[in-house]
């Protein structure tokens, strides 16, 4: 299975002496983010993708607002609980990923200090 790892940023734009392309320098990482999220959404079986911050505000989402907020609220608590569980068992350990497999689909949560990346996938095998 080919693993698509992002090995770093794209090569630096041409030196400023030359009239380079008009794309803003700050736009690059954002473009990558866009690309990443788009790629995730386009995988087989993915129903929805969401990025939520710690207060439950959906930053990027492909589902409607109310669903997103519901997911955000519930999954935030669950992730906190899971994280504290992992750390209680072993303080050196930390939660990296949370996968909830249900009858209908699978909810995958990638937690960060401030944000949560949530993907709902339907593995259709």
């Amino acid at each position: 299975m080919n693993e698509w790892t992002n090995t770093g940023r794209e090569p630096d734009p041409l030196p400023s002496s030359l009239p380079g392309p008009t794309a803003p320098g700050l736009g690059e990482p954002q473009a990558e983010v866009e690309e990443t999220l788009k790629r995730i959404q386009s995988h087989k079986g993915v129903i929805g993708t969401m990025v939520v911050n710690a207060e439950g505000i959906p930053i990027r989402t492909t589902l409607d607002n109310s669903t997103t907020v519901q997911y955000a609220g519930l999954l935030h608590h669950l992730t906190m609980k899971a994280k504290s569980t992992v750390r209680d068992i072993d303080p050196q350990n930390d939660l990296t990923f949370l996968r909830i497999r249900s009858k209908k689909h699978e909810i995958m949560v990638a937690p960060d200090k401030e944000y949560l990346l949530i993907v709902i996938q339907n593995p259709c095998e």
Binding site: N6, I40, G45, N53, I57, I59, D112
Partner: protein
């Protein structure tokens, strides 16, 4: 004792104030101590008393009013926007979002999380780890058990001089009784003192209700002329019909109520001319109640004849023949699950036939060292059957499992086993031997419970083998037609005398070759003591030669055919 002081006062003086005055003490009562009372008590020394040197306090309980609590989740409809952002205004929210997206933390976080997430998504797509594995193999429990059978009981012939147990039958209700028929097959050589039950020349009917004497006896003139080898009750409304077969070549139908004459007679002449001289002696009889108009007869000559009872003329009664055995067919039984297939036992092999394939059997065992005497299908499993041999061995075959060898081979006794009957539940087998001992065996549950898929496997196996035989048959027919064509081309050139001579020469030549092959095989077998190779089918090319009227070219073709088969 009561201490009482009585005084008197005038009524007018009630309520007057009291005047007190001093006076000397007066002794009113003096109660002396009573030492007898001391005996009611026991002196205790030392005495324990608790003393506390503290403030004395008291305890009170009080309960305040209950405070009711409830745990509830909250369904947020909107996230926790900071104070300055009004969630209802689209512009403000968008602006907020854009601000967050520009945050470096955000970018790094997303990149990192994104890669982890993609990995898991791809994993999910690649493999479904939650699927049902091993769905079909749930009920595998019985298969691991080794097939086995153990002897439960042995019944011996109560008479002193041992006779062979030639036939067994289980009681149809309850399967708890077994009837064993003893007979002495060497009638002329019976030693003195042997009890006189022996052959049944006439058809005799015993009624268990009337006692042990013969209830009905058929007349000698109209009965069989040779020993009767097979009798079966028929399924009929009156319940009194049966039929019998004997080696004189006749099959007769009887009605028990009128035993003086058979109701019907069929002569087993396969050339359909109804000549008794040509008739084949019948050894075994088979009738299945689910196919009431058909019955089958196994003959001494090794041919199975399938007959139709309802045919109009006697000639049409014989429907078809199944040649293939070299010796008398001792047992013939249809498969209880697939009545189109039947099992025969004769000479040294057991063969399974299909009604569709008339020229040869579809499956057969290898040639054994001892003669096979009886065979029976298991009533519960379509792929299991049992055979008995002259050397006293009982073989259990399961051709779903293994087709070349018996699954289980048991040496029941040292003398020959003559007959075999399986009980209806498939667990118990009774086999009778030459010295009259009947052994009752119980088979392991693996051999007497229907396995999963067994019916499908059995039917597909039968079909496959039938198809194979059909293809072979067609091929043979083609070759024969070709020969005939060629032979007819050369026919005009030959004279009759040549034909007669040729026939004999051909026959002797064929015999020579046959024996050569047999000797070669025997030598090979001796040299190669471990493996037994089945002898290739000799009879069909030979029969072809004998039946076709000795045309030389045909003979040559026949020889070539023989050689081809050997190659």
């Amino acid at each position: 004792m009561e201490i009482v002081y009585v005084y008197v006062k005038k009524r007018s003086e009630f309520g007057k104030q009291c005047n007190f005055s001093d006076r000397q003490a007066e002794l009113n009562i003096d109660i002396m101590p009573n030492p007898e009372l001391a005996e009611q008590f026991v002196e205790r020394n030392p005495v324990d008393t608790g003393i506390q040197c503290s403030i004395s306090m008291s305890e009170h309980e009080a309960n305040s009013e209950r405070f009711e609590m409830e745990t509830r989740g909250v369904n947020h409809v909107e996230g926790g926007w900071p104070k300055d952002v009004n969630p209802l205004e689209l512009e403000q929210t968008i602006r907020f979002r854009k601000k967050v997206e520009k945050d470096e933390n955000y970018v790094n976080a997303i990149m990192q999380l994104g890669s982890i997430m993609e990995h898991c998504i791809k994993q999910n797509n690649a493999i479904d780890i939650y699927e049902e594995y091993f769905n079909d193999e749930e009920a595998m429990e019985v298969m691991e058990e080794d097939p086995s059978a153990k002897t439960i009981n042995v019944f011996r012939d109560p008479q002193e001089i041992k006779r062979a147990a030639t036939h067994l039958s289980w009681h149809p209700d309850g399967n708890r009784k077994l009837a064993v028929a003893y007979s002495c097959l060497d009638f002329q050589r019976a030693p003195v003192g042997m009890s006189s039950d022996s052959y049944i020349w006439d058809l005799a009917c015993w009624d268990t209700r009337k006692g042990s004497l013969v209830a009905e006896l058929s007349t000698i003139e109209s009965s069989h002329r040779d020993p009767v080898y097979g009798t079966i009750w028929l399924q009929s409304k009156t319940g009194t019909e049966c039929f019998s077969a004997s080696t004189d070549g006749q099959v007769m139908w009887w009605d028990i109520r009128k035993m003086s004459e058979p109701t019907e007679v069929v002569i087993l002449d396969i050339t359909k001319k109804e000549q008794l001289e040509n008739a084949l002696g019948a050894i075994s009889l088979e009738f299945e109640s689910t196919l009431p108009t058909k019955f089958m007869v196994g003959t001494e000559q090794g041919i199975v004849i399938s007959c139709n009872r309802k045919a109009k003329t006697s000639a049409e009664k014989i429907v078809c023949t199944f040649p293939g055995h070299h010796g008398p067919i001792y047992a013939l039984q249809r498969n209880p699950f697939y009545p189109k297939n039947f099992l025969t036992v004769g000479d040294w092999t057991a063969r399974i036939w299909s009604e569709d394939s008339r020229e040869s059997s579809i499956m057969w065992t290898k040639y054994h060292m001892a003669y096979l005497t009886d065979a029976a299908w298991s009533p519960v499993r379509p792929t299991v059957f049992f055979t008995t041999r002259m050397d006293g061995t009982l073989d259990i075959w399961d051709f779903m499992f293994e087709q070349c060898d018996p699954t289980l081979s048991l040496k029941v006794c040292d003398e020959a086993l003559f007959c075999l009957r399986v009980q209806d539940n498939g667990c118990l087998i009774a086999c009778g031997s030459q010295l009259g001992t009947t052994t009752l065996l119980e088979v392991s549950p693996g051999l007497s419970t229907l396995q999963r898929n067994e019916k499908n496997v059995a039917s597909s196996m039968f079909e496959r083998e039938t198809r194979r035989e059909k293809i072979l048959e067609a091929r043979h027919r083609e070759m024969r037609l070709k020969e005939k064509g060629k032979a007819e081309g050369r026919d005009e050139e030959q004279t009759d005398e040549e034909l007669a001579v040729d026939l004999e020469a051909l026959v002797s030549k064929a015999e020579e070759e046959f024996f050569d092959i047999i000797f070669a095989e025997l030598k090979k077998k001796e040299a190669d003591a471990i493996k037994l190779t089945p002898v290739p089918q000799q009879p069909s090319p030979e029969e072809d030669q004998v039946v076709e009227e000795g045309e030389e070219a045909a003979g040559e073709e026949g020889d070539e055919e023989v050689e081809e088969d050997l190659a």
